[in-house]
Subunit: 140 residues, 4 copies
């Protein structure tokens, strides 16, 4: 297993290969064993028709946070693939910044289940709640 | 109820207010009663770490397609809000273009349930399958 | 709002009208504001083909626990209806007893979102995780 | 691969080991490649508090139908395990009989995704819609 700094570096390199994260102007904030945090500032480029952040943006950063949280629990030669997720949108995404936290709920050899939480900039208002199932794949 | 041309215009105006759809370079293709189609061309701005289109992109256009499909079934003074969705990712999004089709499965006064399908550019390879619950809200 | 004893009595009366809960030999354990616990002992009447408790049993008691947890947050003339749920099965249900805990995550006038947890008899092994969306309906 | 009669027999034997299916008085109706149908008659033993069939019953037979539909696509030494499902409840389960149809949407070596439909006795009123992810496991 990698230590936390190595893990952050490994995930940062992967994160920077995600064109979408750059497009959303998302930032990788923290990486711990089983927990990854990604943020994304409000911009008019990210809205739905009422001017709030589109559900797809909250989902995108929550998905990346959950995938990388799963990755922290796996040996170094594995990568991850999202099999499915479900998201409940609890409050309109009226926020200066969205903060997505992915947390491993159950880690297995083949499958990892993560909870994803999307908060506003204060990290107190829960905007969306994801449950994601993630598959381990070997890199080749 | 609006006729199909009026419905297309109403939804096109709403679509164009979605900053995210512009950012993803997504296009509103067709609007019929209960069915809406949105496409999005592959671009390196939309990728995950393996160079395929990010799950969040397929989800974003499927969510908009489902929401607008729901909207076609409602009286003119209603708008829609996504309550929750679940997406299964069936195949890696290796495609020149993603085509999302939102279809109303059950339309009610308060809630509409839609199926969302995301295909590749041939509309034959099913890449992702969404089920979305959408709430009617009154405008103004 | 009812006090906790009145709430328990109200929910117990409703629980006893659920023929399925009797068939599963399920028991209403506790009722607090926003949290309801229901248990169900292992029996060969409740198994799937490998002799573990069927996913449908864990789901049934978790659904009732989530529905009643939602009900504790509503005024007295409301009842609840499950709109949709998603369940991840984390471990095989090898347990002498299943304990389902429904917890309100977000309570609204029309919709309530609950987390449901299904544990083994020690309440330490998490067997299944539900997220449920529940609608308020007026009675009579 | 087994022929359809052999497949029906294999699945019938497994179905009869499911104590819950007996408890619900559920019946295995048909088995085809990728499609399995299970029914369950209304009984006061299966109700929720309003006298309709409990969401957990519709879910249980849909889960078994989806699992067995997945099994029809796998080589003989595999069995199946439900990883997760999501169900939308579209109409109150006021029906003399519930008919659950499990259909394979995508079959893979490790994972199968199925659609599950729960109808009333006329097979025209759609009461619930499931999407299930099922894992292949090797027996013995």
């Amino acid at each position: 297993m990698l230590n936390e700094n190595e893990m952050f570096e490994k995930i940062k390199q992967s994160f920077e290969r995600q064109g979408l994260m750059k497009t959303l102007n998302a930032k990788l904030i923290t990486v711990e064993a089983g927990i990854v945090k990604i943020s994304c500032e409000f911009s008019e480029n990210l809205t739905q028709q009422h001017g709030f952040v589109h559900a797809g943006v909250a989902t995108s950063i929550a998905d990346s946070a959950c995938g990388y949280a799963a990755l922290t629990m796996l040996a170094d030669h594995f990568d991850v693939l999202t099999i499915e997720f479900k998201v409940n949108f609890l409050k309109p995404a009226k926020a200066k910044k969205l903060i997505a936290v992915g947390k491993v709920l159950q880690s297995g050899k083949t499958l990892t289940v993560c909870d994803g939480f999307v908060y506003d900039e204060t990290e107190t208002k829960l905007i969306a709640k994801m449950t994601a199932t993630i598959m381990s794949i070997t890199i080749g």
